[in-house]
């Protein structure tokens, strides 16, 4: 694409959604979604399983028709100009669409040919992407022998083969080990340039925070909050906290009092579980101060940890109920990557 076209594309919104609703039987999967995604950015749709993320992606990528509302992708209507939309997008679904019996290179070349790049250009792009995604050594190996991380990379490479303007990634890192996840994050972050846009869905606050310029939180088919990662953290409990578990829960109130001046009014405590927590925005200096105060108050700690916020915390802050996602999985991942 030449610079002229790019500037032209940059004037348009990458994705514009107006009043999209979709119902499956008794379930209202999407309920009047309005969203605008600007070019040259990473946009994250954050929500628990079953909140409607995949349904929205399927509508935007022309796989599914909405019951009402309209959506434009790359300036094209997803229903009226579906074939145009398909030529400017790349989609990596929740499960990698990798052909086990074909080699990594063949997988890429076939997708390139189906984008009508032609044989020669498909081969050239396949070579570039194998290089870029660190799959050169495995290029002639059947995908059957690829690890989970390699399959994801190959799948993502396939979606990039025609240099799509808008890249849709549906839970791109679900089920990946921390190292593969980090590698994939780097690739995703590098895609949002030259007016290209990344639209990703995730159930990990960590991931949205790390990658996105803008986040929309979806719950039961509705957008319940929208903003930059910074804004969401401030408004909705998206901050990390220092969490203390006391050896003897009788001391809960004493511990809360001793810490109060560090974060006036922001101390949370529960004498039932013997836990006390406070915002961790003071860095590691704050952590040592907490330990010092507990020592001088003579309060013995059973556990002291820095807790990363999860989608659950944010949901609790906004809706008063937790997200229907396994809390163990959420916090485990947040803990591993930082």
């Amino acid at each position: 694409m030449n610079p002229e076209d790019i500037r032209e594309k940059c004037k348009e919104d990458s994705v514009r959604i107006e009043g999209i609703s979709k119902r499956f039987g008794k379930v209202q999967a999407l309920d009047g979604i309005n969203l605008v995604v600007e070019p040259n950015s990473v946009f994250a749709l954050l929500g628990p399983n079953g909140s409607g993320k995949t349904t929205l992606v399927r509508i935007l990528t022309t796989l599914l028709k909405a019951d009402s509302g309209t959506a434009q992708v790359g300036g094209f209507d997803v229903v009226g100009m579906a074939q145009k939309v398909r030529s400017v997008i790349g989609l990596a679904g929740q499960y990698p669409a990798v052909d086990d019996t074909l080699t990594g290179r063949e997988n890429l070349e076939i997708i390139g040919q189906l984008y009508h790049l032609g044989g020669k250009k498909s081969r050239a792009r396949a070579s570039e992407l194998l290089e870029q995604f660190d799959l050169v050594d495995a290029a002639s190996t059947r995908a059957k022998f690829y690890s989970g991380g390699m399959r994801r990379r190959l799948d993502l490479a396939a979606t990039l083969i025609a240099k799509p303007l808008i890249l849709f990634l549906d839970e791109p890192t679900t089920g990946l080990d921390p190292r593969s996840r980090l590698a994939l994050w780097e690739v995703i972050a590098s895609q949002a340039k030259d007016c290209n846009t990344v639209f990703l869905t995730t159930q990990y606050l960590e991931e949205a925070d790390r990658l996105a310029h803008k986040i929309a939180i979806i719950d039961e088919g509705k957008i319940i909050r929208e903003g930059t990662p910074g804004e969401l953290k401030k408004c909705c409990g998206g901050e990390s906290r220092i969490s203390l578990t006391l050896y003897d829960r009788v001391n809960t109130q004493a511990a809360a009092d001793a810490l109060n001046s560090l974060a006036p009014g922001k101390i949370l405590s529960s004498s039932e579980t013997g836990t006390v927590s406070l915002p961790a925005d003071g860095g590691s200096g704050l952590l040592s101060e907490v330990v010092r105060r507990m020592d001088s108050a003579g309060i013995v700690l059973a556990d002291l940890s820095l807790k990363q916020p999860t989608l659950d915390d944010v949901f609790l802050a906004i809706t008063g109920h937790t997200a229907e996602v396994s809390p163990a999985a959420g916090s485990k991942i947040a803990g591993e990557v930082r």
Binding site: T61, L63, I89, L91, A97, Q113, H116
Partner: protein, 256 residues
């Protein structure tokens, strides 16, 4: 318009090639498929051949032409499995989000299966010749007979495509295929002359396309008058293709 037509052709070619590569990468499937057919041919000929009266001609002469037709009938059940497999692995979402021609995915599958049938037919003809089968007609008739079997295979493959796309999981696809295939194969003139069957079954066997196919193949390979069965089988072929191709495309386009 011209570009979209050439895209259709090239997309079909790309996907046909993909499926053929897959067949040859997993030769076990093709080899077992071929072996099973050879074993069946040997078993039926040497176990039942002596007991079935076929009006003067040797059983292999009576049986092989129909057996060749049976290859594509059973072959089409594998199409359902292949389609169901692609559906479960997320390929369809990928393919449907590409600017490729919509009909290419299913059509590519059918064409690659047609190539598979040609391979199996050639193999089984060779085995038949070793077992004592002799062609008894002109070269062109023989080629026409084999081509008609492949066309019949294509028609049944569209049925298989529709089943695969409807059931969406591999195990069900496997069983679903056999449900309709067994009555078609056995209640026909393929293994035994239908005159030996009870009346109600004869009625079914007479309209059964496998009967027409077996009869036509017999005539084209061995000589005789072909006309009425030929029209019947052509009507079946194009009727099945028209019906199941449109049903399959409809379902594919609406798939959510």
């Amino acid at each position: 318009m011209m570009t979209s037509f050439s895209h259709l052709i090239s997309d079909i070619a790309v996907l046909t090639r993909r499926n053929l590569i897959k067949y040859f990468r997993l030769p076990q499937l093709l080899i077992f498929n071929a072996t099973l057919n050879v074993v069946l041919l040997l078993l039926f000929n040497y176990v039942f051949g002596g007991a079935i009266k076929t009006g003067g001609v040797s059983y292999i002469q009576y049986f092989l032409p129909g057996f060749l037709a049976q290859i594509v009938v059973f072959g089409s059940t594998q199409t359902s499995v292949g389609i169901a497999e692609d559906l479960t692995k997320g390929f369809v979402d990928r393919f449907r989000s590409l600017p490729m021609a919509r009909p290419a995915f299913l059509t590519g599958r059918v064409l690659s299966d047609a190539v598979r049938y040609v391979f199996l037919l050639i193999l089984l003809v060779i085995v038949g010749l070793v077992m004592g089968f002799r062609f008894d007609n002109g070269f062109l008739s023989i080629i026409a007979g084999l081509a008609l079997i492949v066309l019949f295979g294509v028609a049944l493959t569209w049925v298989g495509v529709f089943i695969g796309i409807s059931v969406k999981d591999v195990e069900t696809a496997q069983v679903a295929g056999f449900v309709w295939v067994f009555p078609l194969v056995f209640a026909s003139s393929l293994y035994v002359p239908i005159a030996t069957m009870p009346g109600w079954l004869q009625a079914f066997a007479k309209i059964n396309p496998v009967t027409s196919m077996a009869d036509v193949t017999r005539v084209l390979l061995l000589g005789g008058s072909v006309a009425s069965s030929l029209w019947k089988i052509l009507a079946w072929d194009f009727g099945l293709i028209a019906l199941f191709m449109s049903l399959a495309f409809r379902r594919y386009n609406r798939m959510a």
